[in-house]
Every structure is written in structure tokens, then in C-alpha cells.
């Protein structure tokens, strides 16, 4: 079976047809996606009308919400995750590190936060990534900008906000999330806290790596998008459906007046309360956003619920426990404090900008 010499991989004659197949398939899938998306609403309305429930009842309202939102959200999520998967095939943590090393603060923070969105990143890589960045000469504050942006602005959050609350909110979330990551990283950098890293981190000697250069073809990149869809959507679809079910219940049954008084714009204390409650909570965006949409529909202020969501996603206890290996408790406290304050500001700004 094993050949003695590695055969040179010849350019297979099927390469061209493979490309046509992938590109053609993607275009066909997009057209089909659009066609189905157009008829979702009439289809859901038709289905609810066929059900033996009284029209305009609480149950009918909840069912209509559920039957329309579930396919809509899953479709939008699939599209965004696919696009992000293709984009991410152009980036890697090693390249990002090379781009950021030696960058000055300021410019570096902006670059790091932006790269945080598109660089493939898994939370279990947080420690090697942190060490890799710091020992390659990426300033501490710039590293933090990356570490804040990477989990907070993810394709699942953006896709769901886009699908459930509208693209304006998704874009604003993207902008404010970037803002928090850039400014919080910059502020942490200004404190000059390099001495608060765990001592061994500064002694790490970073090796040099020459990863084999991989020329990805167009089908390879489309394939990466498809892989991202099966991986991520396969993992979160149940959460999304559960979230929409809870959202549907809130939609149909929860009293609007009560919610509005707790989470509405007039309750100034609700933003800090949302952040404080959100920090120790750990959930993915998938389960939480459908609930957020329903809360907004019932009069909860957008800034308040988004601050809650950012706190849940960006600051999580498991991540801090992992980071404890490289950061001292003091530095973690500064990190949580600065990011928490940033989210708080975003919450108030959102409430101010989006008058419901």
C-alpha cells in the first residue's frame, strides 16, 4: 500500500469540472434559498389557518410566530454561517499573529478587533493563542482587542440578529461590538499591565513555524463554507428551536406591561442589572437571541437586552477559568471591569439611538 516515494500530485484533469460543479451548485442553492425564503410567510399563515385553533387567540399567535420564525431563522443562519466559513478560509491564527506583531497600539487595536471577527477561533485555543500573540510581540492591549472581539462578534449572533430583529440592529451590534473591543483593548493597553501576566508566560520562547503553504482553490473555500454549516448549524439548531419556542410563549402569553416596566427604557437601572446578571451566565447566542426578540416585541428596551446578550457571550466564567492559566486574577478583574463598562455604555447608547 505505501509507496516509497511521494508521487507528485499532478493537476487532475477533473479540476475544471469540479470547479464548475461547486460554483454552479452554490449559485443554484442560493437561488433556491431565495425562492423558499419568499414564500415562508404565506406558507406559515396557511399552515396556522389549517390548524384547529381559534384565529387571533394566544395559541394561534404563538404558533404563527413559531412556524414562521423557525425556518426563517435557520435559513438566515445557514446563509451567514456559510458566508463566514468561506471568508474564514482566507485567515488563520498564525497569519493574524504575523499581521499584528509589532503593530502599534491604536491601529493595532482596530486591526486586532477586525481580525478577531474573521479569524477562525475556538475558545479552547484561547490560551495558546494568547501566549502566541504576546510572545510574538503583539502588545497586550492589542491581544485583548482580539480576544474580546472574537467570541462577541460571531456569525451565529449576527445571523440571528439579522433574521429576528432586522439588519439595522445586526449592523449596529457589529459596530458597537467592534467599538467595545477596540476601546477596551486600548484602555487595558494604556494601563501597562504586562507585569500582571503569570510569570511563566513572559519566559515562553516562541518557536518559529513554517506551515506548509496551502493553495486553496475556489471549491476548497466553498467546501469550507459548507463544512462550517454542517458543523455550526448542526450544533446549534436545537438551541435555536428551543429558544424560538420560549420566545413564542413570551410572544403569545407574557403580559407586555409587566415586561416593559422591568426592561423598558424608563427603568434606568435595568442596563447595569442586565450586565451584572449576564456576566456569570454562559450560553451561546443561538439560544438567547430568539428570546431577546420576543422580549423586544413586548416592550423591553433594545439596549438593555443587547447589553445582556453581550455580557453573556463576551464575558463568561469558563473562559476566565481558562485564562486564569496565563493571567493573574488582578488582570482578569481589570479585563472584566473594562469590558463590562464598555457593554454598559453600549446598552445606554442603544436605548438612546433606537427609540422603540
Amino acid at each position: 500500500m505505501t509507496t516509497c516515494c511521494p508521487a507528485p500530485t499532478p493537476r487532475k484533469p477533473t479540476d475544471a469540472s469540479r470547479r464548475y460543479l461547486w460554483v454552479g451548485g452554490t449559485v443554484a442553492a442560493l437561488i433556491l434559498w431565495l425562492a423558499v425564503y419568499q414564500i415562508l410567510q404565506p406558507l406559515a399563515a396557511w399552515a396556522v389557518a389549517r390548524l384547529p385553533v381559534a384565529p387571533d387567540s394566544h395559541l394561534a399567535e404563538a404558533l404563527a410566530f413559531f412556524l414562521y420564525d423557525t425556518p426563517k431563522v435557520l435559513m438566515l443562519l445557514t446563509l451567514v454561517v456559510f458566508a463566514m466559513g468561506v471568508v474564514r478560509s482566507f485567515f488563520s491564527a498564525e497569519n493574524t499573529r504575523r499581521l499584528l506583531s509589532g503593530k502599534r497600539e491604536g491601529v493595532g487595536n482596530v486591526a486586532a478587533a477586525s481580525l478577531g471577527i474573521v479569524t477562525p477561533f475556538c475558545s479552547c485555543s484561547a490560551v495558546p493563542l494568547f501566549i502566541g500573540f504576546v510572545s510574538a510581540g503583539v502588545p497586550l492591549g492589542v491581544t485583548f482587542s482580539f480576544l474580546i472581539a472574537a467570541p462577541m462578534i460571531n456569525e451565529v449572533a449576527l445571523g440571528l440578529l439579522f433574521g429576528l430583529v432586522g439588519w439595522q440592529v445586526a449592523v449596529t451590534y457589529l459596530a458597537f461590538g467592534l467599538g467595545v473591543a477596540i476601546i477596551a483593548g486600548f484602555v487595558i493597553g494604556r494601563f501597562h499591565l504586562d507585569g500582571w501576566l503569570q510569570p511563566w508566560v513572559r519566559e515562553v520562547r516562541m518557536g518559529n513555524v513554517d506551515l506548509p503553504d496551502r493553495r486553496l482553490t475556489v471549491p476548497d473555500r466553498l467546501r469550507a463554507g459548507l463544512d462550517a454549516v454542517t458543523d455550526i448549524v448542526g450544533k446549534v439548531w436545537l438551541w435555536v428551536i428551543a429558544g424560538i419556542a420560549v420566545g413564542a410563549l413570551i410572544h403569545g402569553y407574557a403580559p407586555a406591561a409587566l415586561l416593559a416596566s422591568i426592561m423598558g427604557k424608563d427603568a434606568w437601572w435595568s442596563v447595569p442589572a442586565a450586565v451584572v446578571v449576564g456576566i456569570p451566565m454562559y450560553s451561546n447566542a443561538a439560544g438567547i437571541i430568539p428570546i431577546i426578540e420576543a422580549l423586544i416585541g413586548k416592550g423591553a428596551a433594545l439596549g438593555t437586552v443587547l447589553a445582556f446578550m453581550m455580557a453573556v457571550i463576551a464575558l463568561s466564567l469558563p473562559e476566565m477559568i481558562i485564562l486564569r492559566k496565563v493571567l493573574t486574577v488582578k488582570l482578569i478583574a481589570v479585563f472584566v471591569g473594562v469590558v463590562g463598562l464598555g457593554i454598559l455604555t453600549v446598552g445606554y447608547l442603544f436605548n438612546f439611538l433606537f427609540v422603540a
Binding site: 500500500m1 505505501t2 509507496t3 511521494p6 488563520s92 491564527a93 498564525e94 493574524t96 499573529r97 477562525p120 477561533f121 475556538c122 479552547c124 485555543s125 490560551v127 495558546p128 493563542l129 501566549i131 502566541g132 500573540f133 510572545s135 510574538a136 511563566w200 519566559e203 515562553v204 520562547r205 516562541m206 518557536g207 518559529n208 513555524v209 513554517d210 506551515l211 506548509p212 492559566k325 496565563v326
Partner: protein, 78 residues
């Protein structure tokens, strides 16, 4: 005998990577030793920033995410 090291914190993807290497090596009949390296300082010494990483005979061939079976076959038969 190929000397393979899997660099990673012991997260799920890292374990899957080690299993994939083992099963592909068995399938192709390539004798290998697989060692898991979980020490962060040692991982950094290899120069990667995303785990899991794969090192074959002292050379880093992969960093970040579960490798594809086709790539694994390529490393094993190289």
C-alpha cells in the same frame, strides 16, 4: 516509524485529532507513535497559535481545527 505529536489542551477536537491519526495510520498500515503534548509552554515552543496542532517527525504540518482525513493520509504517506 513516524513520530507524531498532537499539540493541544486536551479539548474535544484535540482528542478527535489524535483518534483520527491513529485510525488512519492503522488503515494505511503505517507504524506510528502518537504523543499528546498538553503543556502550554511546550506548545508555544512549536510556534503555533491555534490548537490542535500536529507535528510529524519534528515538523509542524497542521494548526487549528480538526484536520481532514485526506490531509492526514498525505502526512502519513509522505
Amino acid at each position: 516509524m513516524k513520530d507524531i505529536k498532537v499539540l493541544g489542551s486536551g479539548c474535544k477536537t484535540c482528542q478527535l485529532t489524535a483518534e483520527l491519526l491513529k485510525s488512519e495510520a492503522e488503515r494505511l498500515g503505517v507504524p506510528v507513535t502518537i504523543e499528546k503534548i498538553t503543556d502550554y509552554a511546550a506548545i508555544a515552543g512549536y510556534g503555533i497559535a491555534a490548537t490542535p496542532g500536529v507535528v510529524v517527525d519534528g515538523k509542524v504540518v497542521h494548526a487549528g481545527g480538526l484536520p481532514k482525513a485526506a490531509d492526514v493520509d498525505g502526512w502519513l504517506s509522505a
